[in-house]
């Protein structure tokens, strides 16, 4: 064994190849089967996709690094289920490119925070967490309310995700910009289109309290309010046991 190595270590290319082989096996064995074993991702026939406004909000969540403090993955531990609700299923993040499971909980898990609080609370809290939760150590995101949401690129975003396998229809892609505006303006001209394309259960509201302009706050709150509500398979399955 040491003799073989004594020879191998004389050849840099040989050494390089040996390293690549040794370091490839583990990844192959663990990653490839996740695509072939069907039970890995549960089935959720009626799962809906993020609306353009929610997707924009998700991108803001990524941009601001909320995942540095918040997980979106309730583990299969009874205290977590009692605190946050049914444990997360793989299917719930099947359209998440990339996933936002997180690795640190400086703040609470957000996987099921959707509709837990009011829009007003969410926007006040983001605007200045300590105005509603004096003990909070979360950063204040005052600029969200002041910044108008850029909606012009949303058709491209949806098109990209469609190419990656998220089931957006062509109509959804085409109308993405208007749908984003419509979802934040319940009495406006585009509101009905959102409901028609994404279902009646879609939240169409002035999320930041002002229907006049579509701000980044609208988008982020819309995203937070849909967390855990794309599908209810988790509530239907064993994940909800005990509740």
């Amino acid at each position: 064994m040491f003799g073989t190595h004594y020879k191998l270590e004389r050849y840099s290319i040989g050494l390089a190849v040996a390293i690549i082989v040794a370091a490839s096996i583990g990844g192959l064995v663990e990653i490839a089967p996740l695509f072939t074993i069907h039970e890995t991702v549960e089935r959720a026939p009626h799962m809906r996709v993020y609306t353009p406004l929610e997707l924009a909000g998700r991108n803001i969540y990524i941009r601001e690094g909320c995942y540095a403090c918040h997980s979106q993955m309730i583990r299969t531990l009874s205290d977590e289920v009692e605190r946050y609700g049914p444990y997360s299923l793989a299917v719930e993040s099947q359209y998440d490119h990339p996933m936002l499971w997180g690795s640190k909980r400086t703040g609470p898990d957000l996987a099921r925070v959707g509709e837990k609080y009011s829009d007003l609370w969410q926007s006040e809290h983001l605007n200045n967490p300590r105005s509603v939760v004096p003990q909070s150590i979360m950063p204040a995101y005052g600029f969200l309310k002041r910044t108008e949401l850029r909606t012009t690129d949303l058709p491209k975003d949806l098109a990209a995700l469609k190419r990656l396998g998220v089931p957006y229809t062509d109509a959804m892609v085409r109308n993405a910009s208007d749908d984003a505006k419509g979802q934040a303006d319940p009495d406006g001209a585009w509101a009905d289109g959102v409901r028609a394309r994404y279902g009646d259960a879609t939240h169409v509201r002035a999320f930041d309290g002002d229907a006049g302009t579509v701000t980044e706050m609208d988008a982020l709150v819309a995203y937070l309010q849909v967390l855990g509500h794309l599908t209810d398979v988790a509530h239907a399955s064993e994940a909800g046991a005990g509740k």
Binding site: E9, R10, S12, L15, A16, I19, I20, A22, A23, S24, I25, G26, E30, I31, L34, T40, N59, E64, G65, C66, Y67, A68, M73, R75, T76, D79, E80, E82, R83, A90, E92, S93, Q94, Y95, D96, H97, P98, M99, L100, W101, S103, K104, R105, T106, G107, Q135, S136, I137, M138, P139, A140, F143, D153, K156, D157, A160, L161, R163, L164, G165
Partner: protein, 546 residues
């Protein structure tokens, strides 16, 4: 830097600088409504600056053939200074975000200065900026010395250094503008990722070409580790960063993978970024500078072999220990956990081999702060790998995951192991490269050592306490069967520990700044004589012949 290049190399440098400037211009124009445009401008500026440097010295006389009689140390010097610069930036942001968790108002009312954007500046700044530059610089040094051969050419090292730092600068400035893929330790967007691949290929080629010139038939252990670092990081980086850009004119992209597969790929990457960036590369460093400074032979060649292949093979299996109890199938978690336990053995072999090498040199450890940095690094390496394997056990992870216990583990590794070995190597290298008899102030090295040790202990103990407290509070049940604490109770309970951590971090940062000052003054001091032995074999042979 240009005056040490040959005419051909100057030509290549000029062409590539101009090419870079053109690409930068294209990016700036296409992305003028997007942060991509800012990065385009950065690339353009870098290209222009490099072109300017080359042109300025273009017609200077070529370096004499006698250059081949010496090692090519200029890029190493630059790499060390860059590493120190990034250390100051990265640790400053680390301590700032640490204070923010205790006093959230200690920042500006601006998007760029919120915790979520500055935290990745810290992690990227220290791991890739500080750690990466130190790895590149020391690898240039180690590959030349252990091959007794000069670097293969005078242009590629600069391409690697400048290119790599351009990547780091794009990464960090991107976070300030909100450009991130949100993949931990792989946050930079698609174009920066592609650029890093180009740089990395050049780096690998340089390594192989220099090894090919070596005079010793066998390749030394340190080089095995550096090679593993370069190769596996390339593999991880490419797969984890596969993404579809929304458009060529924008920074945003969507990861190719989603959900559970994305999580597994991310932590296969994330863990092995630790394994091959923060461990394999650094073991390369340890395997050169520790025996050198101690003046002792490596304790066991055979242990080196078992340790190296154990680490290379086992590490890749364990990424799933970051996903215990999640929606990742349980079978993968089992593999992650069991391989993590097995991984402890090769890890400890490497640590033990280093510490046993010190047998016969312990008096030097006592007297020499530089060697003490290296010794402490080996100890912390052993400690953090033990802790890592422990944390990978499912029931333990159910308590530690998501809490500050992970952060304690991280910083036992990065402060105690990575930073200590880097500083040890730097204190060894700086007088040698700049040809000084010794560091400007040995007392300041002592000071740095003790403030680093104190800072590390305060940091790690504070986070052990807060992590375990928080984990226990989350799962605490009242005797009547209900949960005892609300989440907010745990946030409040963390406050004193967060202050302690920020204070420990400050100590560590002060030590680092003292080190930078010391290095600076050493460079300013008057040169001493070159040691005769620090030359490539080729040159020695020539001198003997003439």
């Amino acid at each position: 830097m240009v005056s040490t290049m040959t005419a051909n190399e100057r030509q290549a440098a000029l062409v590539i600088s101009i090419l870079a400037a053109i690409v930068g211009l294209a990016m700036a124009a296409a992305g003028r409504h997007d942060p991509l445009g800012v990065h385009g401008a950065m690339v353009l500026l870098t290209g222009l600056m490099c072109a300017f440097w080359v042109i300025r010295d273009y017609y200077k006389p070529e370096p004499p053939a006698t250059r081949l009689a010496a090692y090519y140390d200029e890029p190493i010097k630059a790499g060390i200074l860059l590493a120190l610069l990034w250390a100051a930036i990265g640790m400053f942001f680390g301590d700032w975000v640490a204070w923010l968790l205790a006093y959230p108002e200690m920042t500006f009312d601006a998007a760029w200065s919120s915790f979520g954007r500055m935290r990745p500046i810290h992690t990227t700044g220290v791991i890739f900026g500080f750690g990466g530059n130190a790895l590149i610089a020391t690898s240039f040094h180690v590959m030349q010395r252990t091959s007794r051969a000069r670097l293969a050419d005078q242009f590629t090292p600069w391409f690697v250094l400048v290119g790599y730092n351009l990547f780091c600068a794009m990464a960090v400035s991107g976070y300030l503008m909100g450009v991130t893929q949100s993949k931990e330790y792989a946050e930079p967007e698609w174009y920066a990722d592609i650029w890093l691949v180009v740089v990395w290929i050049a780096y690998f080629a340089l390594y192989l070409r220099t090894l090919a010139r070596r005079r010793e038939p066998h390749i030394y252990v340190a080089n095995w580790y550096y090679l593993a670092f370069i190769l596996v990081v390339a593999m991880l980086h490419i797969v984890n960063n596969l993404a579809l850009p929304v458009s060529w004119a924008g920074a945003k992209s969507y990861s190719l993978f989603s959900g559970v597969q994305d999580a597994m790929v991310q932590w296969w990457y994330g863990h092995n970024a630790v394994a091959f960036f923060l461990t394999a590369g650094f073991l390369g460093m340890l395997y050169y500078y520790l025996p050198k400074r101690a003046g002792r032979p490596i304790y066991s060649y055979r242990m080196s072999i078992v340790g190296f292949w154990g680490i290379t093979f086992f590490y890749v299996w364990v990424g799933s220990h970051h996903l215990h109890y999640t929606a990742l199938p349980q079978w993968v978690q089992t593999l992650g956990m069991t391989f993590s336990v097995m991984l402890l053995i090769p890890s400890w072999i490497a640590a033990a081999n280093a510490l046993l090498t010190l047998n016969g040199a312990w008096h030097k450890v006592r007297d020499d702060a530089t060697l003490r940095f290296m010794m402490v690094a080996a100890v912390f390496y052993g400690l953090s790998t033990f802790e890592g394997s422990f944390l990978a056990i499912r029931p333990v992870n159910s308590l530690s995951h998501y809490t500050d216990w992970t952060v304690a583990h991280v910083h036992a590794g990065t402060l105690g192991w990575n930073s200590m070995i880097i500083f040890g190597a730097i204190y060894y290298l700086v007088p040698q490269l700049w040809k000084r008899a010794h560091m400007y102030s040995p007392a300041l090295v002592e000071f740095h050592f003790w403030s680093a040790i104190a800072g590390t202990f305060i940091y790690v103990f504070a986070m052990w306490n807060s992590g375990i407290t928080q984990g226990l509070m989350w799962r605490a049940y009242n005797p009547n069967g209900t949960l005892a604490y609300s989440f907010l109770d745990t946030v409040i309970a963390m406050h004193p520990y967060y202050i302690a951590r920020a204070f420990g971090g400050l100590l560590f940062l002060i030590g680092t700044l003292a080190g930078i000052y010391n290095v600076w003054r050493t460079i300013q001091a008057a040169p001493a004589r070159t040691p005769q032995s620090d030359q490539p074999i080729l040159a020695v042979a020539q001198q003997a012949g003439s």
